[in-house]
């Protein structure tokens, strides 16, 4: 589990995907709010250009947030938080400068609320500590501006009061975002411990039945040739040139069956299972996986789970054409490149919508995953480090 940050997005990609609409909302509503409040306060604005640029900066931060939180670009890095918060801080500064000596009421200023709202919108994507730190830095910045600008405000209270008014929105929202993330991440941690215990119990419970089934398979193979052959010998038959030749032949058969078994990777098994399950009627598809170096074996368990879920989802999709499917794995230094390709007749929008949860999960494991849909062919590319 190393390499995963303690963010909701990385521990529960679906929960983060669920909050995707809040990203859109933030990108529309926050700049809208800034523009509306600027219009309301238009009588206090001395420098219109600065005021306009400030609102445009808020819009730019909103667009950056919306683009970066797309499930196709997951996971969101700390860079996004830094960019969104610092651009919003820039907007706060410009907005204050645009009415530097004419700003009557600090409570009507939108700057700190914008920082807070953007931090809330980023809550599912970054760790609690980062969210809280960003909020505190935003609050300090807002406090400094409030202190310097204090003379322009008409309310007759000490500058400390302006500081309180300025920092309360950003602190309330960012600390709430941090608390939200913290609770969710902790409950994910607790769930992981429980799931692990359940898996261990499952290992103990199903290990025995799997062992019996594997043993049954082996016994079936042995009963075909090996057991009858040895039985004849044990019953007193003598070793001759013919029986020696027969021993070599049987050994070769058993050996080649074992080599084939050993050479089959988990990925081939998954593809075969999925194709059997969903492509009723059509013949079994073989040769889908081209993996000369058996590189699929180098994937970690988490990576395998994500790929398995994706393959099953693709097969379950009504427009998936198993006969055109291919998975190629090639090594590139310490990395392995995977290209999955298949014909899928659905429209681009439908496909992206239907596959979004699985792509979101896969993106957490393979940060370079790319999806191309050049109708009717869907291509997925990603790479992973060899273990």
């Amino acid at each position: 589990m190393t390499g995963r940050e303690r963010t909701v997005q990385q521990l529960d990609p679906l929960a983060a995907l669920m909050s995707r609409p809040t990203g859109y909302l933030a990108a529309v509503a926050v700049p809208g709010y800034a523009a509306f409040m600027s219009w309301q306060n238009r009588g206090q604005i001395e420098n219109t250009l600065l005021a306009v640029v400030a609102v445009l900066l808020v819009l730019a931060a909103g667009i950056a947030l919306c683009v970066d939180t797309s499930p196709l670009r997951a996971p969101v890095s700390s860079r996004t938080l830094v960019v969104v918060v610092s651009v919003s801080m820039g907007a706060l500064l410009l907005s204050s400068l645009s009415m530097w000596s004419t700003d009557a009421y600090i409570r009507d200023d939108w700057g700190t609320a914008v920082i807070g709202m953007y931090i809330v919108a980023l809550a599912p994507y970054r760790p609690a500590k980062e969210l809280a730190t960003a909020g505190v830095l935003g609050a300090i910045f807002a406090a400094l501006i409030a202190v310097v600008q204090a003379e322009s405000f008409v309310t007759a209270v000490p500058p400390v009061a302006f500081v309180v008014v300025a920092v309360t929105p950003v602190l309330a929202m960012s600390l709430a975002a941090a608390a939200f993330t913290d609770v969710l991440v902790r409950s994910l941690d607790r769930w992981r411990v429980r799931a692990r215990r359940a898996f261990t119990a499952m290992t103990d419970g199903s290990g025995e039945s799997i062992a019996r089934s594997v043993q049954q398979d082996s016994v079936t193979v042995l009963n075909q040739e090996v057991v009858p052959y040895f039985s004849t010998l044990l019953d007193g038959a003598t070793v001759t040139a013919i029986s020696r030749q027969r021993a070599r032949e049987i050994a070769e058969t058993v050996r080649s069956a074992m080599v084939a078994d050993v050479d089959r990777t988990w990925l081939e098994t998954v593809v075969a299972q999925a194709s059997r399950r969903y492509q009723h009627g059509s013949e079994a598809v073989s040769g889908v996986v081209r993996d000369e170096g058996r590189l699929a074996e180098q994937m970690s368990t988490d990576e395998r789970t994500a790929v398995r879920a994706l393959i099953v989802a693709l097969h379950a999709h009504e427009s998936f054409d198993a006969r055109t499917a291919s998975i190629d794995i090639d090594s590139r230094g310490a990395y392995c490149d995977v290209v999955m390709r298949a014909r899928m007749d659905a429209t681009d929008g439908t496909l992206r919508g239907d596959l979004a949860p699985f792509i979101a999960v896969a993106r957490v494991m393979f940060s370079d995953l790319q999806l191309e849909h050049e109708h009717p062919y869907l291509t997925l590319r990603f790479s992973y480090e060899q273990r």
């Binding site: 679906l14 929960a15 995907l17 909050s19 909302l25 007759a156 000490p158 009061a161 309180v164 008014v165 920092v167 309360t168 309330a172 929202m173 600390l175 975002a177 608390a179 939200f180 609770v183 969710l184 409950s187 994910l188 769930w191 992981r192 799931a195 692990r196 898996f199 261990t200 499952m202 290992t203 799997i210 062992a211 594997v214 398979d217 082996s218 016994v219 009963n223 057991v227 010998l233 007193g236 003598t238 070793v239 020696r244 021993a247 070599r248 050994a251 058993v254 074992m258 050993v262 988990w266 368990t301 988490d302 395998r304 789970t305 994500a306 879920a309 989802a313 949860p357 699985f358 999960v361």
Partner: protein, 403 residues
Amino acid sequence: MSLGLPGHLAPHSESRAFARASHVIALVCLVGAALLVATVQQSRPGAILWPALVALVPIFIVLWMVERYRSWFFSITYVIVGAASLYWFVLAGTSQFVGEAATDSFVFTLPKVALIFVGGAGLGVWRMIGWSSAGLVAGEIATLLAALQTGAQIAPDLTAFAVYAISAILLSLLGLSRNRLKRAQPSLQRAARDEHLSDIRHRIEVRAAAMLHDTILNHLAAVANAPDGELGDELRSRIERDLQILVGEEWLVDADDSETAEGRAGWYASRLFRALDEARELGLEVVLSGDRTAVTRLDPARQVAVALAVKQCLVNVLKHADTNVAEVVIYGSGDEVSIMIIDGGKGFSERETSVDRLGLRQSVRKRIESVDGSVQVWSTPGTGTSILIRLPAKGPAVRERAL
């Protein structure tokens, strides 16, 4: 491995997270309100503002309680006591600034917002929105009543309404998008389970393949090289014994069994001791050195695996190395046991050996890797072969990888 919370747990965690976030917002707002009152008091010593500060105490207390025990009782208490606190707060504040104070002043907005973020009992976003609505209405009524009493200006508090509206829209969006994604969660959980089961199956298959290789293929090879006539007694008894085990017994189910030999303990009871003995019976001279008791620090499954793997290495020496002497060295360090098998035979290049790649790969490498160990092979044609098997010894966290 787990990817996210399963469907039945997610609403609980989310409601808890929303409640905690709500309570943080409420706390920050109440602290903000208290600080504002304190600074105004400082700048206007003539005003009597301490009753306003005292008015905030009950709401702080009920906030702590609803955070601590998120029950229906404390959620309702929070709304009622909070509204009463707010009423007293607005009353105490506006009465000091008659003609000046308005109900939408920022200092009054803050506790109103605190009242909106009840973070009450129950699951789901719709219930959260319900609690916020109750908080908003109670707060507005309390403010209105206080203002009517002191004659303060009554103005609609746009900020409080906006905060309520934004939080309600946000929560509804989350509630709606949840339904869309519900169906994907079971597929992911199933993938995680299948992956786990396939891993278990794979490990068992490796054990089965190694076992078949050690027994059936070795016996077939022995028959293929046997002279004319009946089978030798020793080969016959081995074949009989192995067939009986492979076909008749549950040889895969109980591989963890340590099979302690009667009346013997430690090294002499170990599977490795027996494996070396069997190799000697086949005609190999085995020189043993190092700390042989270290083997007993391996858990039973690893003891079996290492014994079978070493046996296969020794059989390989006899079959392919053109020598009948091999050295086995056992080392034990803190959390690891290493066993080295060295021969001075003709050596090989692992890449070129197709004939017995199955033996080295299946019976040695895969078998050891399936119990979390590692195998290194050094061999060049003409200079002999060294095989190093390393296994984690008994201690904590040895099962981690299997999970």
